[in-house]
């Protein structure tokens, strides 16, 4: 079973964790100012990249705390884990041989 490196507990089995989808999606500061299109984007639309993805996980059968991870959606490899509130690592590794590239999340 794949091991996930909880920032608080260390490596634990994947089955102890639950997935929380894309990270760094902030609630709109003024929801009433959003038009339908913007509201739809906030509620229903998420990135779905093939490759590194910044996402949320919770260690539900352990410390029960949330954290963020950069994970490659092709290899399922965890490239980095970091605490909620921390910015994502600026450089992310991709497949072997590929050039490191800027994480699009890092600029937003």
């Amino acid at each position: 079973m794949q091991l996930i490196d909880c920032p608080w507990c260390g490596e634990r089995e994947e089955a102890e964790f639950h997935y929380g989808g894309q990270a760094h999606v902030a609630h709109p500061e003024d929801p009433h100012a959003l038009d339908d299109e913007q509201w739809a984007q906030y509620v229903f639309f998420r990135d779905n990249p093939k490759g590194p993805f910044a996402e949320r996980w919770t260690h539900s059968a352990g410390c029960r705390r949330w954290f963020n991870a950069l994970r490659d959606t092709v290899t399922h490899e965890f490239l980095a884990v970091y605490r909620v509130g921390d910015p994502p690592p600026p450089l992310i590794r991709t497949a072997p041989g590929a050039q490191p590239r800027q994480d699009p999340e890092a600029t937003s």
Binding site: M1, Q2, E14, A15, H18, Y19, G21, D36, E37, A40, Q41, V43, F44, F45, R46, N48, P49, K50, F53, E55, R71, T73, V74, T75, H76
Partner: protein, 415 residues
């Protein structure tokens, strides 16, 4: 080559001729009226009905791998139309009716077997939801019945309907016209007829870009060169987000691994299809004899066509709970496909903000059963520029207008 008359024959020295190939493998032409992206079941069916129903034959179907080697080769082949909402039952029942004559239409054996599907209820809420769905199906002219546990046992004697299990069977919905078909044969049947109608099926041809000029699609860039297109129809299933991004479209999709598995070949023991939402397993027995079982999606986004082993382990526990007779069966192999899931568990089939670019995606875990139906409706959409009435509700814009078609849980099994 014939052996000399005085030497005894050895195995293989007189080989039969190779059977006829079912389709050509042409090089792409510089230009087509319609380019279909994705050579799976949906793409092939769309191309076929574009030719058959609309007389459009200058079509290329582009497949990045080999024909029907994605989800079309990885599904659990279940066909049914017992969905709750009118919009869903419309398109799925349309599809089921096409399945019923597809073998004659394609003139190719697809082993379509209407052996019925049981959707088990394991709780009082399951019972209420199931009966509601039965009544909704009946109002829509779809065959559906509610069965008590003893009736479930008559339809499928190997289901454990005793009350002393963790999730006892309180009954089931039953759709007798539901069933299974041989997924590979379905794809080959569509491919053969599409080829006969002059359509180019181009394998090993990955789309790497979509050209748009003045808000209108003009062609695609591929690993085998640029191909100009009057219209482009996307049918890329799990990779829809990746392909649509080439046209600047952001879709409300999340791609997940969905795992399935088969047992070794067994004598016929399982006469129907059994699905259970609560313990989340669906099981049928293929003609060849293997038990075919599907799991729920792996929770995280993934494009790797593989999932986690604990999902399979949970799956086995669910199966043995329902079918104690399977305890000594050996699992032969497991695999995963990539399914594109929408927020309301219903597909997106229709127009896009880019002119002449059409979208078919978001079928999630349930696309196989829709193959002929969506091919029919998507072909209509592409040919006429207007959605067919059956796919008109399944717009991309419903996520902005709020007119969702929420089949989560309502679709007889969770997506």
């Amino acid at each position: 080559m014939h052996p000399a008359a005085n030497t005894p024959p050895t195995p293989g020295d007189v080989l039969p001729d190779h059977p006829d190939f079912l389709w050509r493998n042409p090089d792409p032409k510089p230009s087509y009226d319609v380019v279909v992206v994705g050579g799976g079941g949906h793409g092939l069916a769309t191309a076929y009905y574009l030719a058959k129903n609309h007389g459009i034959t200058n079509i290329a179907v582009l497949e990045k791998g080999w024909l029907a080697g994605g989800n079309m080769a990885r599904n659990t082949t279940i066909i049914r139309s017992n969905y709750l909402w009118d919009e869903s039952s419309g398109i799925y029942e349309h599809s089921l009716k096409l399945w019923e004559t597809l073998e004659e239409d394609l003139d190719y054996p697809i082993l379509f077997s209407q052996r019925g599907v049981l959707n088990l209820a394991h709780s009082l809420q399951d019972v209420r939801d199931s009966k509601r769905r039965v009544y909704a199906n009946q109002l829509n002219g779809i065959d559906a019945e509610w069965l008590e546990p003893d009736e479930v046992a008559k339809v499928c004697p190997i289901v454990n309907v005793s009350s002393d299990v963790r999730y006892p069977v309180h009954g089931a919905t039953y759709q007798p016209r539901a069933g299974i078909a041989k997924h590979d044969y379905v794809a080959w049947g569509f491919a053969r007829r599409a080829n006969d109608l002059g359509i180019d099926l181009i394998q090993d041809c990955e789309v790497t870009g979509i050209d748009i000029s003045d808000g209108r699609v003009t062609g695609v860039r591929t690993t085998r060169g640029r191909i100009a297109a009057g219209k482009v129809a996307l049918a890329a299933a799990g990779h829809s987000s990746v392909v649509a991004a080439m046209a600047g479209l952001r879709l409300p999709l999340q791609s997940h691994p969905l795992q399935a598995l088969v047992s070794e070949l067994l004598e016929p023991v399982h006469p129907t299809v059994v699905m259970s939402n609560a313990v989340h397993v669906y099981v049928s027995q293929a003609h060849k004899g293997e038990l075919v079982m599907g799991a729920g999606i792996d929770s995280y986004n993934g494009y790797g066509q593989r999932g986690a082993f604990h999902i399979i382990e949970r799956q086995m526990a669910a199966v043995l709970e329902l079918f104690p007779v399977f305890a000594r069966a050996h699992m032969l192999r497991t695999w995963a496909g990539i399914v594109d899931v929408t927020p309301d568990a219903s597909p997106i089939v229709g127009l896009t903000p880019v002119r002449n670019l059409y979208l078919n995606c978001g079928w999630g875990t349930g696309g196989f059963k829709a193959t002929p139906g969506v091919g029919w409706c998507f072909a209509h959409t592409v040919a006429t520029g207007e959605p067919h009435p059956y796919n008109a509700p399944f717009t991309l814009s419903r996520f902005t207008t709020g007119a969702l078609i929420d089949e989560h849980g309502a679709a007889a099994v969770a997506h």
